[in-house]
Amino acid sequence: MSTISPNLSNRTPLSERLDLIVSPIFAVILGIIGTAVWLYSDIDLITEDILAPEKLQRQLGETLLLGFSSSILVILVAIPLGIVVTRKGFPRLKNFLVDTLGLAQALPAYGLIVIFFSFMGAGITTVIFALATFSLLPVLRNTIVGLEQVDKSVIDAGRGMGYTSRQILMKIELPLSVEVIIAGIRTAIVINVGMSALAFLVGGGGLGETINSGLKLDRGPAILIGAVIVAILALVFDFLSALAQKYLKPKGL
């Protein structure tokens, strides 16, 4: 018997192991497709101009900046907000927030960017705020869910032993909900990097420019390569957050 099932419980479940493999595999496949298109399709001067290295480099930088800043903004806003609304006395605020932000997410990202543009004007900050609003919900919701799923008896025991409310939050609630919260951040990051392709609409730059130029000038390879780079970026971030999720999760859970 023991030879057939060697301590299955100690092995990471299949889904968790796949988690760290899937995004790199897709990223590599996309990379191969992109390279193949670059090498074997008909690249004329206009395409070459669209895909000029210095342009791509700048757009890449802008995309990273957009993804990073909006994600950091989301983290800075959503986690404290989630903590506040899960404290005693805020059940209504919590429901209100989750509902309204649900609406924000139901809007197309495109519409949201335009709305922000209408009162913030063009530029990269507009996009950052629009993206942050769009991806606030997954982080907020996961923070709330993560904190609320912490076993009440563990909190009761902590309180009964003399932890202050602050110590309960820092030493019990947050460590026990880290995994769920990071899962929310992961979703937000992927949304932000992906949606940053729309930033060019309001002068926010990013790889959307390449895709857009490709569309306008009818250059298929340019569209494809632009899209592939955005997708690879999103996958890389997904992978990094999966790593964070795995290693920041406290032992013993």
């Binding site: 008896s153 009761d156 025991a157 009964g160 013993g252």
Partner: protein, 372 residues
């Protein structure tokens, strides 16, 4: 009489107006070193009462004193660090090792590292868990019984005078529960903590408590007395119905075998001849004798029928003595082993297995009758 360690003075707790208060004008005193059990039907407010003592719940009115000091004058977190707290769901921190769990309160109190480390080992040994094996494990690797042992160790780590226990053994299987209860009683004999123990199980209350407070709705005391007194003189119908039928049988867990006048049957010490044995049996009013080995440990029940069967050596005649009672066992254990025994008696030995005498149904009945 000395000042009670915990005193509740007409304490009430109500949740909003219009609802019946969970605790209604409760006055209660807990003496130093005693186990006071709060027992009552679910929803009677016993857990609320317990949680009022360490201010996990604030009273609506009334005063609570700990060691003569009003608990509302102290910072609640600091108050709780001085009071051990054990709950039914245990509530071990799943992300911390057993050692870290036990170190919780000492760390909060700012003990130095060496003192904490040695205290962890001491506590694990106290609850009969091997420090080497368990220190670095995580709670999910423990069984329910082990988890609650750690729970108790964690509550005792900073050596509090007072221990609050909210149905601590309620979620544990009956066999393990019995073992934990016995171990806990042994611990308490050593530690002499002041304990308030909440349970809904009257049998557990009788077993664990020096005094029992039977509570009805609103945490009103229906009767507060020693288990013996409650069993023999229930105050009213509520208490009677709560005790349920068989109060006498429940009382059996309160008395020990050492309280019984042991009955002396003839003893035969091996090696013994068949004739000597027969003679001893005929000289005695008893139908049966006990055969002892050279260490005076009882081995077999011998009766005349067994002696007449001459084909067997005397050491193999009769029936084997299977269960030995010891003076610390309860009368309930005694009754059980008598009923199981082939001769309607049970052998009592000391801790080393040396024969002391026999326990009979008559001697048991006599003891119960004398209580009236």
């Amino acid at each position: 009489m000395s000042e009670p360690l915990i005193r509740l003075e007409s304490v009430s707790k109500s949740y909003g107006s219009g609802t019946e208060p969970a605790v209604k004008k409760l006055t209660l005193e807990v003496e130093k070193g005693e186990v006071l059990v709060l027992v009552g039907p679910s929803g009677c407010g016993k857990s609320t009462t317990l949680r009022l003592i360490n201010r996990l719940i604030e009273p609506t009115s009334g005063k609570i004193f700990l060691n003569g000091e009003d608990v509302t004058d102290v910072d609640p977190s600091e108050l709780r660090r001085k009071i051990g707290y054990v709950i039914q769901q245990v509530g071990l921190f799943p992300h911390r090792t057993i050692a870290e769990n036990i170190a919780t309160v000492p760390k909060l109190l700012g003990w130095d590292k060496d003192r904490i480390e040695s205290r962890i080992d001491e506590m694990l040994e106290l609850v009969s868990m091997d420090p080497e094996t368990y220190r670095d494990r995580y709670p999910k690797e423990l069984s329910g019984g082990q988890a609650q042992r750690v729970g108790v160790a964690r509550a005792l780590a900073a050596d509090p005078d007072v221990l609050l226990m909210d149905e601590p053994f309620g979620a544990i299987d009956p066999i393990t529960r019995d073992r934990l209860q016995n171990e806990f009683l042994r611990l308490q004999q050593e530690l002499k903590k002041t304990i308030v123990f909440v349970t809904h199980d009257i049998d557990e209350a009788i077993k664990m408590g020096n005094r029992i407070a039977i509570l009805r709705e609103g945490s009103e005391i229906a009767q507060l007395d020693t288990p013996e007194a409650i069993l023999s003189h229930p105050a009213d119908e509520f208490v009677e119905s709560f005790l349920g039928s068989g109060a006498i049988l429940k009382g059996l867990t309160l008395k020990k075998v050492r309280d019984i006048d042991l009955h002396q049957v003839p003893t035969l010490t091996a090696p013994v001849s068949r004739d000597q044995a027969l003679q001893a049996l005929q000289d005695s009013p008893d139908q049966v004798a006990v055969l002892l080995d050279d260490k005076e440990q009882p081995t077999r029940w011998i009766d005349e029928k067994a002696l007449n069967r001459t084909s067997q050596p005397i050491e193999k005649s009769g029936r084997p003595v299977t269960v030995n009672l010891q003076p610390e066992d309860t009368l309930q254990d005694a009754l059980t082993s008598m009923l199981q025994s082939s001769v309607g008696m049970a052998v009592v030995t000391d801790r080393k297995g040396k024969y002391l005498g026999c326990c009979t149904i008559e001697s048991l009945a006599k003891l119960i009758m004398s209580e009236g």
